[in-house]
Structure formats: structure tokens, C-alpha cells
Amino acid sequence: MILKIRRKFNRSYSVVLDTDSAEALQDLPRKLRDLLTRPDVSKQVTARLFPRVYKDAAEEEEYRRLLGDELLRRKLDSVKLFEDTLQNRKAVLVRGTDAVELTVKPEEFELWLGFVNDMRLVLGTELDIQEDGWSENFDPTHPRANDFALLHYLSLLEEELLRAHPKLP
């Protein structure tokens, strides 16, 4: 597996992945967009991506009326950004192996990271992960082992992104 993220001199992020991994990510923007725009598809996922703010129902409703669209818009922006980044991938060779390079501009970093994390939340909710330590107890015979593997991969991607980000003051 190839996964290498570094910050370049122009401060943009170079994300190098093997072609299989890039292929596995290809379908994720469509999936998240569907879930965001059709909240009836999965109530659990919608509740996880748009958690309650207030205990009081009237206050919650008012908050959603005023600010709910903003959160949805931000999440849809992250989907579009991730999709565009994948479309603009560049073929590269890493130690003689075909790979792809994605470029994330510094001002896009948070939104891009947000997409990766939202997809982790979607998968984690669908897989009904309730406790820490799920990654250590990976069962390759599980009927949804592929989704567990994808979630694990997105965790690695997220960790590498955070590692590449300059230290915050």
C-alpha cells in the first residue's frame, strides 16, 4: 500500500496513493452527497452528521431554521472539493509502481479533511461501531469486512493528513 502525504514548498499538500486505493475512494463523494441530500436514506447517519444542539425542541427547531442550511452547504462543499481533487489526479510512479498524486491547496485542507472525517462517521455509523478498539478487533470474515477495511484506510489517511499539517501554535 502506498500512502504518502507531504507539504510542498508552495504549502499545498501532495497526497500520493496507490491506484487501487484511489479507485476505492472514487465512489465516496457520490455516496456522501446522496446521504446529505436525501436524509430519509439513513436516519442514523443523518443524526450523526447533524447532531442536536439543544435539548429543548423549540430551541432546536429555531437553530436548525437559522443555521441548519449552513452546515449542509459546508458538507456539500467538501464533497465537491474531494470529487474535484480525485478528478484532477495525476499519474505518478512510486518505486516502479503506478500511483496517483492528489493536490490539496492549503486553504482547502480543512474542508478536505472534513470530507475524510465525515466519510469515517458515515461508515462507523453504518457499521454500528459503539466502542473504542474496533480497529484492533478487525474480523476479515465479517460480512462488511470491506467497509471496515475502508474505514481503517480513511483513519490512516486522516492521521497522515494531520501529521503533514504544520504544528499549531
Binding site: 452528521l49 447532531p51 442536536r52 443555521l67 472534513g114 469515517r120 462507523g124 494531520l162
Partner: protein, 99 residues
């Protein structure tokens, strides 16, 4: 009603309104098994400007105790923080500070 009584009543009304308006709200982040500890720490640093040590302390509180009060601010600011935390995918709520 005499003029002097009116003068006394007015400041009381203003004071009550101000107290309600200025009441502080706790922004609370809740534990969940999916978000990575490093990610939660990053979000706290980014959003609240906390040092790594303070951000880590809050993250460990979330992880170990199930929740952490990450900010105590006026209502509008609390709504802003909760909205941003939801944007980052963290479970956050707000409640009036008691006492």
C-alpha cells in the same frame, strides 16, 4: 406613580434583561468511538486556539469522562462554536451554565 419611583424601576428592568442576555452557555463535546483522538485534539487547537497541552487535556476528558466543557461563552458565540464543531464532525451541544 411618582417620578422618583419611575427612576427606580427603570434600572431594575434593564438589569434583569442584561442578566438574561449575558448568561453564559457551556459548549460541551461528547465522546464517540469513531473520531480519532488526534483529530479531536487538532479541532480543539484550531477552533479555540488552545495549546497542544490544553487541547489534549480536553480530548482526554472527552475520552475518559464522556464529555468536556470546552468553552463557556455567550449564547451567540456558543452557537457559533457548536456549529463549527458539527462542521468538523464532533458531537457537541450547549447548555446554560448553572450557578
Amino acid at each position: 406613580m411618582s417620578q422618583s419611583t419611575k427612576t427606580l424601576e427603570r434600572p431594575e428592568t434593564v438589569e434583569e434583561t442584561r442578566t438574561e442576555h449575558d448568561r453564559l452557555w457551556n459548549v460541551i463535546v461528547w465522546n464517540d468511538p469513531i473520531n480519532l483522538m488526534s483529530y479531536v485534539t487538532f479541532v480543539f487547537q484550531k477552533l479555540f486556539g488552545y495549546s497542544l497541552a490544553v487541547a489534549t487535556k480536553h480530548m482526554l476528558e472527552v475520552h475518559g469522562q464522556g464529555r468536556s466543557i470546552v468553552a463557556t461563552v455567550e449564547r451567540e458565540k456558543a452557537e457559533y462554536f457548536v456549529g463549527r464543531l458539527h462542521g468538523f464532525g464532533l458531537q457537541a451541544t450547549m447548555e446554560k451554565q448553572t450557578g
